[in-house]
């Protein structure tokens, strides 16, 4: 337990450094916990995005260069604390008994999650992909084209983006050793970040109490819990999705600076980041035809993250053997798979790991449209549906056994957008519409 406690302490320290880097990037001083976590996400996106260019420039010193930059960012953040502008604290209303009780329950589930992370083994992808990549990064000091001594199955894993392995490797830097057992120490940080992101997202539609309950609902979703405990990447990605959705919905000066980094973080976290970006862009294009959410600089930044991702994939020389390519053979085989895939995916959505969550979401989304609820909740509902359908369409061109592929992964893909789905449910059920202040 002592080793894991030390790793947890290191994870908190790394989070603080990444948050300091994020503050510098966003040119502000985070004074609230939620702002500090936004800065953390921006800092992590930037650090992960810089890893591939640094690998090309500095070779085996790339990881050390990231560590050095983060330490320098921490020092600069302290030196510049007076120059960086801080948002004035708004007065918040007095918390009710329901709010206090829900906060206590939230604290309990965070504690329980931490205990579970410490006391449970990895899930397979958690160690086979993410922690193993973190170890390779820690040992070799840079991104590599090869991961193991043999290469028969490792190619697909090489392609996966570096944000989570970087976070896991950073935790061990102060300890100067890498230990698989403690590599999940960063997950309680992501879990807490998810609660805050869901709370802030829901706060756009609902009262504080309803938003706290929504955070509790998202936190206790079994697939979120067990995926996180197993060291899977879907929990950190869900954090970026919920935070991006919040920034897109807020559409103010704060969010327009944060959003490009959050989108970059999605791209640096997992392959599905590109699906999430495409679906989000489609929904935003339809919903806010006239408004521009991203400035010119922001659009360039997202473009840079995309370029970084594609250049890295090209550099590795690998391609994903699990699905595609989109050649004639795959396209001809796809129509016959539509019904089986739809049936299997529906089975996953209605399975015991979700309970009645997805029917509840579907009913809420339908009510949001039927009752002409505000456009933001409807846009969020469409985004969740679009991602769920696009994710399912991957199985039409899978090279694996369809049933195996769907049952082993679809539920985890849904976990990436389920917290945003919780916000849709709260938007329909919450009786009070309030401004997100606290």
């Amino acid at each position: 337990m002592t080793a894991m406690a030390a790793a947890l302490a290191c994870a908190i320290g790394v989070t603080a450094l990444l948050s300091a880097a994020g503050d510098l990037l966003l040119v502000r001083r985070a004074t609230r916990l939620s702002e500090a976590f936004d800065s953390f996400l921006a800092g992590l996106a930037a650090a992960a995005g810089s890893l591939f260019p640094l690998t090309l420039i500095a070779g085996k010193r790339a990881f050390s260069a990231v560590v050095g930059a983060l330490i320098a960012a921490g020092a600069a953040r302290i030196a510049l604390r007076r120059r960086l502008g801080a948002r004035e604290r708004e007065r918040s209303e007095r918390p009710t008994v329901v709010a206090w009780v829900t906060v206590a329950l939230l604290a309990a589930v965070v504690g329980i999650f931490t205990l579970r992370v410490m006391s449970n083994r990895f899930g397979w992808d958690g160690i086979q992909i993410w922690a193993a990549k973190a170890r390779v990064l820690f040992v070799s000091g840079a991104l590599t084209r090869r991961l193991w001594v043999t290469d028969e199955f490792a190619g697909r894993i090489v392609l996966y983006p570096p944000a989570l392995p970087l976070m896991e490797a950073l935790v061990f830097r102060p300890m100067a050793r890498f230990h698989f057992l403690d590599a999940k120490a960063a997950f309680p940080i992501f879990y807490l970040a998810l609660l805050l992101a869901v709370f802030r997202l829901t706060r756009h539609f609902a009262s504080r109490e309803a938003s706290l309950l929504a955070a509790l609902g998202a936190a206790t979703l079994p697939t979120i819990l067990y995926g996180g405990v197993g060291g899977y990447c879907d929990l950190p990605l869900a954090v970026f999705v919920a935070a991006s959705a919040e920034a897109a919905i807020a559409a103010d000066s704060r969010s327009s600076r944060t959003l490009p980094w959050l989108i970059g973080g999605m791209l640096m976290m997992k392959d599905e980041g590109i699906i999430l970006l495409a679906c989000g862009a489609l929904v935003l294009a339809a919903w806010r035809r006239s408004a521009r959410l991203l400035s010119g600089k922001g659009t360039l930044l997202v473009g840079a993250f995309l370029l970084d991702r594609e250049a890295y994939r090209f550099w590795t020389g690998w391609h994903d053997i699990q699905q595609g390519p989109l050649d004639l053979a795959h396209l001809l085989a796809a129509p016959a798979r539509i019904l089986p895939v739809a049936r299997l995916c529906a089975g996953q959505m209605l399975g015991s790991s979700w309970g009645i969550f997805w029917p509840l979401f579907a009913a809420s989304a339908a009510m949001a449209f039927a009752a002409h609820r505000e456009g933001r909740a409807r846009a969020l509902a469409v985004f969740v549906v679009l991602v769920a359908v696009t994710d399912a369409s991957i199985y039409l061109v899978t090279n694996l056994d369809v049933a195996y592929h769907v049952t082993s992964s679809y539920s985890r893909l849904l976990a990436q957008v389920a917290p945003a789905g919780v916000a849709v449910i709260a938007a329909v059920l919450a009786p009070v519409r309030a401004t997100p202040t606290s």
Binding site: A108, L115, N120, F153, P222, L360, A363, Y404
Partner: protein, 150 residues
């Protein structure tokens, strides 16, 4: 009508939340007891650790081809690639998907394995000779060692 539907949905949402919370708290209680009683779990089970040690011992250090179930591929693959860099090629049954057969062929041509370890219900192929039965595969199932040297 809308109000009634919202009330029904709200009730369902709160019921779901209560069930999730109950499951979370109940699971945590058992896990706390487990951690207090037995300490942290090992990264790999004794069976997983023993698997490649046995395979390595039986092969005498020569390359080994392991054909196993999907779970076995993950477990044995992890052990082989991350923890014990042995000359072992671990693959699912070639009938599982089209690219596996090609990958196996490439491994055989490149590494010329001396033995085949057959786990789960995979096929050894014609001409292979079973030389040993081993106590447990990567996921604890039956495992047989087949010679590929004709």
């Amino acid at each position: 009508m809308f109000r009634a539907a919202r009330l029904a949905l709200g009730g369902a949402a709160l019921a779901l939340l209560a069930l999730q919370l109950r499951a979370d708290l109940r699971g945590a209680r058992w896990e706390t007891l487990h951690v207090v009683a037995s300490g942290r779990p090992a990264l790999l089970s004794a069976g997983e650790n023993g698997f490649l040690t046995e395979v390595a011992g039986a092969s005498g250090g020569h390359p080994v081809l392991v054909i196993t179930g999907e779970a076995g591929v993950y477990r044995a693959g992890l052990l082989q690639r991350v923890l014990y860099p042995l000359p072992v090629g671990v693959f699912p049954d070639p009938s599982a998907s089209p690219w596996v057969a090609g990958e196996i062929r490439r491994f055989v041509e490149r590494r010329r394995p001396a033995c085949l370890v057959r786990c789960a219900s995979s096929a050894a192929g014609p001409g292979a000779r079973m030389i040993a039965r081993l106590p447990g595969g990567p996921t604890g199932g039956p495992m047989e060692l087949w010679s590929l040297r004709r």
